[in-house]
Amino acid sequence: MDLLGFARGPALRVALAVFCIGVLWRIVGFGLLRLRRDLNKPRASIARFLTRGLITVGSRSWPHPEFIPRTGAGEALGYSYHIGLFIVVLLFAPHVAFIGSLVGFTWPALPSSLITVISVLTLTLFLAVLFRRVTHPVLRMLSNFDDYFSWFVTALVLVTGLANTAHIGARYETLLALHILSVDLLLVWFPFGKLMHAFYLVPSRAINGALLGRKGAVS
């Protein structure tokens, strides 16, 4: 078996299995945790604090006007590279073929050259957020191995994908194998690092909002 066969065969199979196990393990484990007892009297009806939870999911998606001058640029940077990633992952024809082979249906793709441009922009934004993280004193203090490794595995997918598209550095099949292996690595790391925010983002905001709503606070 050659490297490409290994990457899209056994390695991908194991990576997908680890991804599914890990994601459900953490979601179920998280979802079944018991909240700490709150002995305070509820300041709002159940319907209201559940509504506050849902509202918080949206209201926390952009900084409060007071904080925009300080954090707006960072937030915009974050949104930009996330949008770039979504476009590259979901709208590049070979990716559509890949996902389609697993889920059984496909959708229209964007021109490959446009995807290349978006990939380069996204990678540039990736470097910018890394630069910001290591130069910002507070962010640097808050960062640990998980932050840097999660950045690394995601950027690695982008770099190997670009090298594969541009045929830089090695033969196409080697580059494609390395690209798929980097995706395999990302899938394995995903459930156990901060990449899980993709699944935790909405429920954690909703729970925070609901708890604050129960206390009568507006979040």
Binding site: D2, I21, L24, R26, R34, A93, A97, S113, H167, I180
Partner: protein, 371 residues
């Protein structure tokens, strides 16, 4: 094959067939150009060949379909390639030669003895080793024995076709005859692999011509294929490549994209991982090649291509099924199985956490009551 032409140099042979020196130099220049050799190689090649005695070639056919030989003989006639091949001394080829039986085997033995250490051995087909080599035998001798004997006196071995080069279809799982490529049997001779199922005629003739004219093995890639023909992927040189770059792909073999000549990547084209000259030299005198005819490349010049999954699955798709292709149902089964394990682990870990939380709260309550 033995004839009145025996003993003539290539130059004398061409002259006898009415090919002028100028015409021959023009041909060699064209061949050198096609092989991306330096411009001075054309005349040098012509001079070297003209003064050389006709090189002896022994062509052995083993576990094969004769498609490679069919391809080799499909050069457009009359062409100067035909004359070149009339001009080598093809001392043995059991399909083309008039002699048969003991006479043919005797001719081979005689040629190998007379040209020991100088002849070129061309091999077509894989070599079965199962059942003591009984799956392929001629003249009472197994293919593996014949190959070993013929390889001893060969200056070089040229494997034509994917079967001789990499084992081909006989080598594919489950390989019932225990077939092997030539390189697995012979390890002490220079080997040039001219893979393809079949190879392009001009790639076979060009490789032989380059070897005869320069007297040395051409630059080879890691699969021992001449880089001059196997240096680029078909995808790199494909006329449909602009459609790949634009993201325009045919979804089926008869949709609008297919009719407009869009890229066949999603229909399983293996052009990006296949190294061959199909997109440049093409077939039938440069008329067309499979992709131009509407079918994706199947990667026939790559090792183990039969076992690399479905010919109709895109290269970027998952491939771990028996047939190489992963059906959505298999992916769903994997996700469901792994998901069930994940849920079980989640329930257990949440239970443990709850237990610890309960113990902490209980000890906190006890502490408060005690104080």
């Amino acid at each position: 094959m033995s004839s009145d032409d025996d003993g003539l140099t290539v130059g004398g042979m061409l002259l006898k067939h009415g090919v002028s020196r100028r015409g021959f130099i023009q041909y060699c220049t064209a061949v050198a150009s096609a092989m991306a050799l330096p411009p001075w190689m054309g005349p040098a090649m012509a001079e070297q060949l003209r003064g050389s005695p006709r090189p002896s070639v022994v062509y052995l056919s083993f576990q094969e379909c004769t498609g490679c030989l069919e391809s080799l003989t499909r050069s457009f006639a009359p062409t100067i390639e035909d004359l070149i091949f009339n001009s080598i001394s093809l001392d043995y080829n059991d399909t083309l030669m008039a002699a048969a039986g003991e006479a043919a085997e005797s001719a081979r033995a005689q040629a190998m003895k007379q040209n020991f250490g100088k002849y070129v051995l061309v091999v077509d087909g894989s070599v079965p080793t199962g059942a003591g080599g009984a799956y392929c035998a001629a003249g009472g001798r197994s293919a593996v024995d014949t190959l070993r004997e013929a390889a001893k006196g060969a200056a070089a071995i040229v494997c034509v076709g994917t079967c001789a080069s990499f084992g081909g279809i006989a080598f594919a799982d489950p390989n019932p005859t225990s077939a092997w490529p030539v390189s697995a049997i012979v390890d002490d001779k220079p080997i040039i692999n001219v893979s393809g199922c079949p190879p392009i005629p001009e790639v076979m003739t060009g490789t032989l011509l380059q070897f005869f004219s320069t007297g040395r093995i051409p630059d080879l890639d890691e699969h021992r294929r001449p880089k001059v023909f196997f240096g680029n992927t078909i995808h790199d040189r494909c006329y449909r490549r602009p459609f790949y770059d634009q993201g325009k792909f045919a979804k089926t073999f008869d949709d609008e994209g297919a009719r407009n000549g869009w890229c066949l990547y999603e229909l399983g084209c293996k052009g990006p991982t296949t190294y061959n000259a199909c997109a440049t030299l093409k077939w039938n005198g440069g008329v067309s090649f499979p992709i131009q005819s509407g079918h994706g490349c199947i990667g026939c010049s790559e090792p183990g291509f039969w076992d690399k999954g479905s010919l109709y699955s895109a290269l970027s798709t998952a491939a771990w099924g028996k047939a190489g292709e992963v059906a959505p149902r298999q992916a769903l089964e994997l996700a469901a199985g792994a998901g069930a394990v994940g849920v079980a682990l989640g329930v257990v870990s949440a239970g443990v956490s709850r237990l610890r939380q309960h113990e902490r709260e209980k000890s906190a309550d006890d502490g408060q009551q005690g104080s």
